[in-house]
Amino acid sequence: MSLPTGTRDFTYAEDMAIIRTKTQWALFTGFLIFLFTTPLYLGNYWLGVANLIGITIIAATGLNILVGYCGQLSIGHAGFIAVGAYTAAILTNRLELPFLVGLICAGLTAGAIGLIFGIPSVRVKGFYLAITTIAAQFIIIWVINHWQVTGGFVGIKVPYASIGGFVFRTEASQFYLIMTIVVLCIFFAKNLARTKVGRAFIAIRDNDLAAQVMGINLFRYKLLAFFIGCFLAGIAGSLLAHWIGFLNAEQFSLTESILYIGMIIIGGLGTTLGPILGVTFLRLLQQVLTMEVVPFLESTVALPAGFASGVTPMLFGLVIILFLILEPRGLAHRWTLFKSSYRLWPFSY
């Protein structure tokens, strides 16, 4: 994080800190207070939307580590989320294991499956890697539909999440659970980017040949990126499973996987803030278009038949095109420009 003029570091700890100034601490604390008091002034519907956004942020953060930091294109992310969701469902429903065991195992299983499908990344990249990850999407969904343990086409019920006897029944309690994990995942992702591993990811993304010449083990780091990205997808899948309460494979379509790519592009690839902004923007846009705009158009405006049903995909596509043309570095870059501009205000250059 860039600092205001005159701020200096006197210790290594200060140099390494993520939050550096009193203003930043105040803003961060204020944000956390705002976040965790949200259930006091939102109804179940908006809390539900917030929970969906939180879960999606975790998954998109994983994809951002894989694609944004390490440059390994994956179009099978919904499949990895499905692995996590079904692992949690099987462990907590069929084996009646605790939620936390299911959560961790969901991450580890999705990570392990990600490792398998990440192996081709050592040999192929770009569009070729994209095809192998699409294959992952289809193979995973096929297995879910045809494996007895998952409930097949019928699907599987998932109990409420619970920790130490406390059951997360209400939308508000689920909000606290999900947002706590969101904060932890973002903290993890932020720190990961500053470590040796994160720098190796960036080196591979920018030029894998040069990275290898510098001594970075491509095989190890690419697979590590797949593991971490899919681990977070698994965690998100577990939370999604407990939030929805019932799973079937149709909830994890290829369209969802592509949507995740759209989210991190709009948010800003290779930044911690990007997935947060991209997910929030697109999920809210989806909700507003689906819940407000389409019913409004259908019930009040005399439009040609079928027009309203095309509004959502049209606007959705338009937004992505506009971002790619006008702000290819995403909302995170726009936010950085905004901060830079106002940091000096009213004494600009």
Partner: protein, 419 residues
């Protein structure tokens, strides 16, 4: 610098206005006593071809009920209608919104969305009714009800009809199944698994297809080699059209009997496949056809032609019009049994009243002849159990059979259910 200051001031004023006006908007809400119901349909997204006319029918029927029947028990029916884009997560948030809005129950069009939202509704005891259903929605029965027979019932109704009216040969007829790789297909598979032996049919092949399939030549070649008597397809219109066209190209059809489940048996199937290719194909559907002489037809036709003329002729419109009539009847029964004050709360107490004093009091309710009588039977959350078998003749869906009752199958008693 000046422009930034102006921007800040304008932003501040806008925020203040929004904060000041929002409570006023709430205060301006009409205070009329209404009975509120929720509807969510896939008006956008991949199932919009079905969801859009179904949503229209729901809203048109509410308009009819309020304008011509004086609402329900003198209270206007207020509908909160939301699109779900055929997306599970949006469906879940939509149902949460319907609960937040104090709706007394909710209706959906598709089994996919209902299966995604049913646990949310079951956990809150928020009763719901789906037009098209798969057995998983109410096995075991909780707070979700099926307006019409499910995909398994379709399969059995057709098999019954075939055995009684078409099959003349010795021994067991050989059935080949071509099933969509989702609950629409698995419902039929499970029904044959449970009752196939009892019906005296032999399942010789079960093939799956994707909703986006463009060729089923290889699967049909495998089926053809087994010499089936019947090809039963449980799918949606586009894949069904592909399968029938491929069967025609392979010379399998005509020559065997083809039966379709109701999810695909609409005008869209004929339009996509071509009338000459689907000539003679049988299909199940749980409602009457447009233009039939039943009491509710005239008003439904009038409203459809006035408000959404392009939906005229679409069988899905009939389904959702009837769904709204069933919901109105549930409101009427609950109103008579517990009074308005309980229903006005729009909370879990109202939902329990709607379920126990509305849904579960339904007995022989006639939906103006649009589909079979609506009755609740304890342990069986299907409110209608009757199907009819139609045939495509000269490019029209015609030749309706008598109503065929689908037997109750307690799927949860089978070890393999959900496996």
């Amino acid at each position: 610098m000046k422009s930034k200051r102006l921007l800040l001031v304008a932003g501040g004023i806008l925020l203040a206005v929004v904060v000041a006006v929002l409570p006023l908007l709430g205060a301006c809400a009409p205070g009329e006593k209404t009975l509120k119901i929720g509807i969510t349909t896939p008006t956008t997204g991949p199932a919009a071809e079905k969801g859009s006319p179904m949503g229209h029918a729901n809203l048109d029927c509410v308009e009819y009920i309020n304008a011509e029947l004086g609402g329900v028990g003198g209270y206007p029916v207020e509908v909160v209608w939301l699109d779900n884009a055929y997306d599970a997560a949006k469906g879940v948030t939509a149902v949460k919104k319907l609960m937040d809005e104090g709706c007394l129950m909710f209706g959906t069009a598709s089994s996919k969305i209902m299966s995604a939202v049913m646990e949310t509704a079951n956990r809150a005891e928020f009763p719901g009714i789906a037009c098209f259903t798969s057995p998983v929605l109410y096995h075991p029965p909780q707070h979700i009800y099926g307006q019409l027979p499910d995909y398994g019932d379709d399969a059995l109704a057709f098999a019954n009809f075939y055995m009684e009216n078409i099959w003349k040969g010795p021994g067991k007829p050989k059935f080949a199944l071509h099933l969509l790789n989702n609950p629409t297909g698995s419902g039929a598979r499970d029904a044959f698994r449970a009752k196939g032996e009892e019906l005296g049919i032999e399942i010789i092949a079960t093939e799956e297809h994707a909703p986006t399939t463009i060729s089923e030549m290889s699967s049909l070649t495998r089926i053809k080699a087994l010499n089936p008597d019947v090809l039963f397809i449980s799918s949606t219109p586009a894949p069904t059209a592909v399968i029938i066209k491929n069967a025609y190209a392979l010379g399998m059809y005509p020559g065997i009997t083809i039966g379709c489940a109701h999810a695909s048996f609409t005008k869209a199937l004929i339009d996509i496949a071509g009338a000459d290719i689907v000539e003679g194909v049988y299909g199940t559907f749980p409602t009457v056809m447009w233009g039939e002489n039943v009491p509710a037809m005239a008003k439904m036709t009038e409203y459809c032609q006035r408000l959404h003329p392009k939906d005229y002729g679409n069988m899905d419109y009939i389904t959702s019009w009837a769904q709204t009539l069933v919901m109105a009847e549930i409101l009427k029964l609950a109103l008579e049994n517990v009074g308005y004050d309980v229903l006005a709360k729009g909370d879990v107490e109202s939902w329990r009243a709607i379920e126990t004093q509305g849904f579960q009091k339904l007995k022989g309710f006639d939906v103006g002849g649009l589909h079979g009588a609506v009755t609740y039977t304890p342990g069986d959350n299907r409110l209608t159990t009757y199907n009819r078998i139609y045939q495509i003749v000269n490019g029209e869906i015609t030749n309706p059979s008598d109503w065929v009752e689908a037997p109750f199958i307690k799927y949860e008693d089978y070890d393999w259910f959900g496996q």
